[in-house]
Amino acid sequence: MRFWWWFLFAAYFRPLVELCLLGYGEWFFQTRFVEDRTKFDRYIIQITTVGKEIERVNEVIEEIRSYPMSMAYEIWVVVEPGFPVAYPHADRVIIVPADFECVSTFKCRALEYARTIRESEGVIGYGTKITFLDDDTSPTWEYLETAYAADYDICQGLTAPRVHYGSGPFTHFLLSHIDDLRFHNCMTYCSTFQGIFNAPLFCHGEGMTMTASTENQIRWNFRIFASEDLTFGCNAAHQGLRWGWFHEYIELTSPWTWNAYFKQRRRWMWGNIHAIVNRDVLPLGPAIRVGVRYGLSLFTFIGSGVALILTLTGHIHEPKIWFSVFWCSLVVWTLNFAASGWVNSGRREDNQTSFDFWSNRIGQTLAAIVLTPFSASFTVIALITTLYMGNPKSFEVIGKTLETADTEVYSANQEALV
């Protein structure tokens, strides 16, 4: 019986273990991350979009153009056919032909098409760096500089939902804080599993940066409808390519509506499940690794909950010293969310006064602490709910602004895939 108690109690140690991982990951980046600009002479920043978020994409391009970049770079926009191509400050706009055929579909197909363009132009060497952006992501200047100089086959930075974080309607406020866990996961698991262990557990398409040679070796031609980032990243590591992780921010927007939130999570969940269960998508090792990650999330939620109930009802009597450890663990867990709130609210908007900025930052940090139980629980609830909702069998892209929040694109029946 005691074994099972401790099995449940193990869930309480997770924040402490995560703190160790986080510290090691950050320390490793600060001391061991390798940058070498001499090896790179071309930089492509590619924004892949369906074409509906034209204003947001132009906004991102404008942002990048405003940076005092230290290298020559090109901005490519890859769009689906049938949408406007008014991207005046893009260097190149590529429309994915309707008749382009490959194994992959949806966004991954667009990525594969862009790759074939580069391949046909001979852009396949280590000297070319490519950073992939979504149409809702804003890389910071430091992010692009570091990504370019990083001497790795593939690397990425820290994802943070800093764009309109906690602002706007109350739903967006809540959804922003639910995303606090994304920042924490990236800071903890990406920093170590990508940066140190070369075995990604999470990958995000926002800001993923690689050499052209890496892209050409792995390619985007997978039998998937979603989770192309995880699939590509895991396959790259599996083939022995070098992963790097750096602490610079790629800023994105949290969903604006519950509908959009569940759509997004459902796509991730079932995209990952599809990748886990199909060996032509993910090799066995990475599949087990990612599967264990989901199991661990469920176990943490259920194990800690059951242990808490058993303790409160007097069924578990462990030495008090362990309860002190658990209190520390709880403090660490809360600090994690506080840190997320602090970092995520650190983006200064135009025309924002110092008072507004700092009061918002402190308020959002406190909100992140207060909402810790909600944010942590809801992530698991979403996991279970999206499992219950079933496979979307399509790439449901959500709107990235308040106005386009519930717009659905890339929806097509993909039964053949599953």
Binding site: L19, G23, E26, W27, Q30, T31, R32, F33, V34, E35, D36, R37, T38, P68, S70, E145, T146, A149, H247, H317, P319, K320, I321, S324, V325, W327, C328, V331, V332
Partner: protein, 460 residues
């Protein structure tokens, strides 16, 4: 050029991370390891008590010739002729067997000593005497108006045979024990309430004073008496009975002294040792008691316990040491008592306990080396704890405000020495990590500087 130089990442980030994490870890280590965590689980195994069932008292059992465990329910057990007793009145003595008078002796003058009783009965199979040693094979009941002394030098030892009905009782009478060693015939009698098997030990003898009797015990020893049955616990004062216990020893009994609705009993300068259950157990509306100068050590459960509305009493200058549960306990609405200047040491449970008892004064006691020093639980309002010395307990107090008391070296308190060790260790870890960071950074920075130089050249 400025941009290129910016790409050489300053080292301070790593140092900040290392410093923050080590300080956090050290703070947690201080919180976790900087104090003791006493194990507060009870160390004593549960005690298998018999259920309390409606029953005759021991005197009724004897006069009716009923077995010692007879209940008074609808089915009355059959009297047994082997259960015999001598009922002593001022002018006559009735000898009973199986609830029937088998002999009536008219007395010219009252019997005042057990020595006289032996001579008048003159039946060695009932009661016999050898020198100053009397052996009882039947019970003795002193009735209203009688007074019986069992005292030295006439009687120095009284053996009460282990047999149903063997007891000494006072029913509105007076009993005096002085300088006598009273014990059961069989020292090996299994102790009632054994932890492994509940036994009634029907024959284990007892002493019982009731109905405003006066029972005094002086310079005497009582051993192997009592069992787990109503009013049969060893030495009992019941129903307005009173008396004085002075300089006596109660050892290996079921309960040393038990009272039930007793008044003004004084228990002074006596020893209560290794009794099965409690040393001193005033119970059920007993009042006006004085428990002073006693030693109640190594009893199976509590040293001294007041339970069920025991009020207006004083417990002072006693020592309760090494008992299986609490040293001194006020239980179940035992209120308005004073617990003063006692020592409660090395009890397996708590030093002094208030359990659903209020308005007691607990002062000037020394409570040490127990599980919890001072403990208050249940509806225990308005108890006053002051000037007590609470030291070296696993936990100083539960449910008690220690203000006004002297607490030291108890468990659960912060330990300065441990904290110093934790922070020294933290400092060493920090130093080691600084060195590691410095070396790691040096190795990587060389490569970065090289790349920056190249960029500078390109920019130029």
């Amino acid at each position: 050029m400025a941009i290129a130089l910016r790409r050489t990442r300053p080292a301070r980030g790593a140092y900040i991370v290392v410093t923050f994490l080590v300080l956090l870890a050290t703070a947690f280590a201080t919180f976790i390891g900087g104090r003791t965590y006493p194990t507060l689980a009870l160390e004593q195994a549960p005690f298998g008590r018999l259920a309390d069932v409606p029953a005759f008292d021991p005197i009724e059992n004897l006069t009716l010739g009923l077995p010692s465990n007879a209940g008074n329910g609808p089915t009355v057990p059959t009297p047994q002729a082997s259960i015999r007793g001598m009922e002593l009145y001022p002018t006559q003595l009735i000898m009973l067997a199986g609830g029937k008078a088998v002999k009536l002796i008219t007395l010219k003058q009252p019997i005042t000593t057990l020595h006289q009783l032996v001579g008048i009965v003159n039946q060695p199979d009932w009661i016999s005497e050898s020198g100053s040693h009397i052996t009882m094979k039947a019970g003795v009941i002193t009735e209203v108006g009688t007074s019986l002394a069992i005292d030295a030098p006439l009687t120095t030892e009284l053996t009460m045979n282990v047999h149903m009905g063997v007891l000494i009782a006072a029913l509105g009478a007076k009993l005096d024990f002085n300088g006598v060693y009273v014990h059961a015939s069989d020292a090996d009698t299994p102790r009632t309430g054994s932890r492994t098997a509940v036994r009634t030990d029907l024959g284990r003898p007892l002493i019982f004073a009731t109905d405003a009797s006066i029972m005094n015990m002086t310079n005497s020893t009582f051993e192997y008496l009592g069992r787990d049955w109503n009013s049969s616990y060893g030495t009992t004062w019941s129903k307005l009975a009173t008396g004085t216990v002075r300089n006596s020893t109660f050892i290996h009994d079921f309960i040393g002294v038990y009272t039930d609705h007793a008044v003004n009993l004084k228990v002074l300068d006596s020893k209560f040792l290794e009794n099965s259950l409690y040393g001193i157990d005033p119970h059920s509306y007993s009042t006006g008691l004085l428990i002073e100068g006693n030693t109640s050590n190594n009893n199976g459960r509590h040293g001294i316990i007041f339970s069920d509305h025991v009020t207006g009493s004083v417990v002072k200058n006693n020592i309760t040491n090494g008992n299986g549960l609490n040293g001194i306990m006020m239980d179940e609405a035992s209120s308005d008592n004073q617990i003063l200047n006692n020592v409660s040491d090395h009890n397996l449970s708590d030093g002094i306990v208030m359990a659903s008892s209020s308005k007691n004064l607990v002062s000037f006691n020394t409570v040490q080396n127990n599980r919890v020093g001072l403990h208050s639980r249940g509806d225990s309002a308005n108890n006053a704890f002051s000037q007590n010395i609470v030291t070296k307990n696993k936990l100083a107090a539960q449910g008690v405000d220690l203000a006004g008391n002297h607490a030291s070296e108890n468990g659960g308190e912060w330990q300065l020495k441990r904290m110093v060790i934790v922070w020294i260790f933290g400092a060493l870890v920090l130093l080691w990590l600084y060195v590691t960071t410095f070396l790691s950074y040096r190795i990587t920075t060389k490569r970065r500087l090289g790349s920056t130089a190249h960029l500078e050249r390109a920019t130029a």
